[in-house]
């Protein structure tokens, strides 16, 4: 039997939304950002080609399942999950797993960034496209502990225990109640709570009040926007050097500053690769008779926040206040008001040496390159298509993906979905319950960004057509 090891191994996340509870905001050592323009800050240079190779072949999470146990329980991977550019053992592993030999000499299978940040679109694996179909609803601990049945040998057992203990500590903070949404933010905070900020040493007991157990949902943003964005994360809280934020998935198992420094050395190349990553081209038909009208509408209505595309692109890097954008406020509010202990932790840690967390009470209007590929929309993934994003009357209150595998809707521009007549409370089974995206829940609202409502149907169609060309 296959354990759901691949799902379990996907705990490699670098999104950081500092959310917690109980503290008051605005203290000197807890910087906050203003709304409006985000200024550029210098980024360390790196080699994009080396970064691509490292991303595909080097481990940033340094604990995992011994390879022998993986091999015994997981079987041959689906050939569709093998991608070019991987070498050695990695060439035979699914793209979301990376081999790593521990200091004790045990070969491990570890999580990597691609588990969340690569996905198939129209049959092609697209590196940088967020995977919006991952299932974080089940308890990873059961699979992790069960995998121990396949672990033999003392050194292997020690490595397995270390990994299982880490997953066990963060499991309560990474279980979402909806298939597709990502718990990366909460998971990262849970990890920080277990580490000394100065030494990065792990403590089995949390050193800070952990975050609330139930994660606020986030959609995985595309990597090809990294080069345009001056700040990381939806609320623009990731300021300064992006590398230290990008490598935060190392907080799962990196227990010393020395180890973190070694990862930092090659992660500058990874950042350089991500900053140079090109968005994919729209693979289906485009009605060029409409796109020019769409461009004019876009530049009349959208460019102030989202920028200009084409020959002379410009991206304004603006944080829009919650009242103005009107989208679900929970993520930004919690990070701004209730997460000071995590902000303090970060800013005095190794990770905060060259960067700083400074949340804003709003959301960044993202670059829209290849926006057609990045459904579902809004930071919480509450709107399944672009058509619905531009017409609030078409936004489903309760919905689920039409199939387990991504099916693209060329008309509405997004993943095919079906409406549910009821929210989670009306579900007849746990499976149904987990699959319903219920926008009536806290953090899951699909309100706001109503700017497309004033368009006529014809105008909206033209605008959608134009968005295919970005």
């Amino acid at each position: 039997m296959r354990f759901r090891i691949i799902g379990v191994l996907i705990v490699s996340v670098f999104a950081l939304f500092l959310s917690g509870c109980g503290e008051d905001a605005e203290q000197e050592d807890v910087p906050k950002s203003k709304l409006g323009k985000v200024s550029a800050e210098p980024q360390r240079p790196g080699d994009p080609q080396a970064g691509h190779d490292a991303l595909l072949n080097r481990a940033v999470v340094t604990c995992g399942l011994p390879y022998s146990a993986y091999e015994a329980s997981a079987g041959d991977p689906d050939p569709k999950l093998l991608i070019a550019g991987r070498t050695g053992r990695n060439a035979a592993l699914p793209y979301s797993l990376t081999a790593f030999t521990s200091p004790s000499g045990v070969e491990l299978v570890t999580a990597n960034c691609l588990g969340c940040h690569a996905a198939t679109f129209n049959g092609e694996m697209v590196i940088g496209l967020g995977n919006e179909f991952l299932d974080f609803t089940s308890d990873p601990v059961v699979a992790v502990e069960s995998a121990g049945a396949y672990v033999n040998g003392e050194a292997e057992a020690a490595e397995w225990r270390r990994w299982a203990d880490r997953i066990g500590a963060i499991a309560p903070y990474m279980m979402t109640n909806t298939v597709g949404v990502n718990p990366a933010n909460n998971l990262t905070l849970a990890l920080l709570a277990h580490r000394d900020p100065e030494t990065l040493a792990w403590s089995d007991a949390p050193l800070l009040d952990p975050p609330p157990e139930r994660p606020l949902p986030v959609s995985v943003p595309p990597w090809w926007n990294v080069g345009k964005k001056h700040a990381m994360f939806y609320n623009a809280e990731g300021r300064g050097d992006h590398v230290r934020f990008m490598m935060l998935s190392s907080t799962t198992c990196t227990d010393t500053v020395e180890e973190a420094t070694a990862i930092d050395d090659w992660f500058t190349d990874v950042r350089a690769y991500l900053a140079a990553l090109e968005p994919p081209d729209y693979p289906f038909a485009v009605d060029h008779a409409l796109t020019e009208q769409g461009r004019k509408l876009f530049e009349a209505n959208c460019k102030r926040c989202h920028g200009i595309y084409g020959e002379d692109p410009r991206y304004p890097n603006r944080v829009v206040g919650l009242e103005k954008v009107g989208t679900d406020p929970a993520l930004a509010e919690v990070a701004y008001k209730d997460a000071d202990r995590f902000i303090r932790w970060y800013n005095r840690s190794f990770y905060g040496e060259t960067s700083r967390v400074a949340p804003a009470l709003g959301y960044v209007a993202p670059p829209l390159d290849a926006v057609w590929a990045t459904a579902p929309y809004l930071h919480n993934g509450s709107v399944p298509t672009l058509e619905a994003l531009l017409d609030t009357s078409k936004r489903p209150r309760y919905w689920r993906f039409a199939s387990d595998r991504p099916a693209f809707d060329e008309k509405a521009l997004g993943w095919a979905y079906v409406q549910s007549p009821h929210g989670k409370d009306g579900a007849m089974s746990w499976d149904e319950r987990y699959r319903i995206y219920d926008t009536s829940l806290m953090g899951y609202s699909n309100e706001g960004h109503t700017f497309g409502d004033e368009l006529s149907d014809a105008e909206r169609a033209a605008l959608l057509e134009y968005l295919k060309t970005l």
């Binding site: 039997m1 296959r2 015994a72």
Partner: protein, 389 residues
């Protein structure tokens, strides 16, 4: 989190089966000889055997019989019986088959055999306070042990399992065991449909990997027959269940030890719970449960929906190893609150491998009404715990 149960249930079912093989192989109960390389069996590669890594379309009664193209296979019947005078008995008959090579080739000797059959039989007589266990291993040669399709039968000398149709055309099982002054002849009729790997693992039923195996579980069999103890014959009735697996049934539990609870409640429900533990005692044990309703429908319970607490130990008469034999098991969402106690404390199996596996009684409440049932508890990984207890 009900879906969490599926992985450990799969592992649990398999390991329960696997331990039977392991027990027999660890210390072969027959004299070793060159042509009978039990000691090397553990290292036999799975290569060449059919791999259980593809979808299996279960067909009954055929799948009750042997699948010799797969390397290993287990049948395990466990249940509780009652005599006409209210005497209580627990029984377990476990059979296993192991192939020595995927290609037997031609052998001249009639003693040569490519299949090994083994079995364990244990009987608990609660009224006499006796627990007895027997173990056999035999080659499938000279008709000593084997399996057949017509009739659907598995046997090891005079211990046998046969599948027969009843008057309604349903398949039932006939078990026959003769061991010293014990003799058991039972008919077991399914009261609920089998739960296959697809039922237990609804979303990820596709098996994969070298360690794959197929399994099913028959949660409730109605039992009637005779039990002879010494010169006394008892007409017995009761309930039992069947665990089945074939493929690369795991021979080792690695870092994991398992406590397994199988309870058959008087209201028609069956409860299967597993508690996964690390052998070294680190970490927190993880329970998961599967509740099979009277109509055969299944509900799973994850670790956060289960309260499971050991409330009383027993020390082995062999070396003082401590086993938690008394438990409190609560499923708050189901309003089910049970106390589990052994019908007899000393049901420690001390054959090839030591573990405690014995008949238990459950009493308590379900939604405020009295609830009761009989079952079995299997506790592994405690032997040798005397020093640390």
């Amino acid at each position: 989190m009900p879906r969490v149960a599926r992985v450990s249930l799969i592992v649990g079912l398999a390991l329960v089966a696997g331990v039977l093989l392991w027990q027999a192989l660890e210390r072969p109960p027959v004299p070793a000889e060159k042509s009978f390389p039990l000691a090397q069996l553990l290292s036999i590669d799975e290569d060449g055997f059919a791999r259980a890594d593809k979808h299996w379309e279960f067909r009954f009664p055929d799948d009750h019989g042997a699948h010799p193209e797969f390397r290993s296979e287990t049948w395990s019947f466990t249940g509780n019986l009652e005599g006409p005078g209210g005497q209580r008995f627990g029984f377990q008959l476990a059979l296993f088959r192991l192939a020595l090579s995927p290609d037997p080739g031609q052998r001249s000797s009639a003693w040569a055999a490519n299949q090994i059959y083994g079995a364990q039989f244990a009987l608990t007589d609660a009224s006499l306070g006796e627990f007895r266990a027997y173990e056999r291993v035999s080659r499938a040669a000279l008709g000593l042990s084997g399996s057949s399709r017509e009739p659907l039968r598995v046997w090891l000398e005079d211990w046998s399992l046969e599948v027969r149709e009843n008057r309604e055309g349903q398949s039932g099982f006939h078990l026959a065991v003769d061991a010293e002054d014990l003799a058991l002849a039972l008919r077991l009729d399914p009261k609920k449909p089998p739960l296959t790997q697809g039922d237990v693992d609804l979303l990820d039923a596709q098996p994969s990997g070298r360690g794959s195996f197929h399994f099913y579980f028959m949660p409730r069999l109605e039992v009637a027959g005779t039990l002879r103890v010494g010169d006394r014959d008892h007409r017995v009735r009761g309930t039992a269940w069947l665990d089945r697996a074939w493929g690369a049934v795991p021979l080792s539990r690695g870092q994991i030890a398992l406590n397994r609870f199988a309870l058959q409640l008087a209201d028609g429900r069956d409860l299967l719970c597993l508690q996964l533990r690390r052998r070294d005692g680190s970490g927190t044990p993880i329970p998961s449960c599967l509740l099979v309703a009277d109509d055969g429908s299944v509900r799973r319970f994850g670790r956060r929906e289960i309260e499971m607490e050991a409330v009383g130990d027993w020390r082995s008469v062999v070396d003082g190893s401590s086993y938690p034999l008394h438990w409190r098991l609560t499923l708050p969402a189901e309003g089910l609150d049970l106390r589990i106690a052994p019908v007899l404390e000393n049901q420690e199996l001390n054959l090839s491998l030591r573990l405690w596996r014995g008949a238990v009684k459950a009493t308590g409440a379900s939604q405020g009404d009295a609830a009761a049932g009989w079952g079995y508890l299997e506790l592994s990984g405690y032997a040798g715990s005397a020093g640390s207890a």
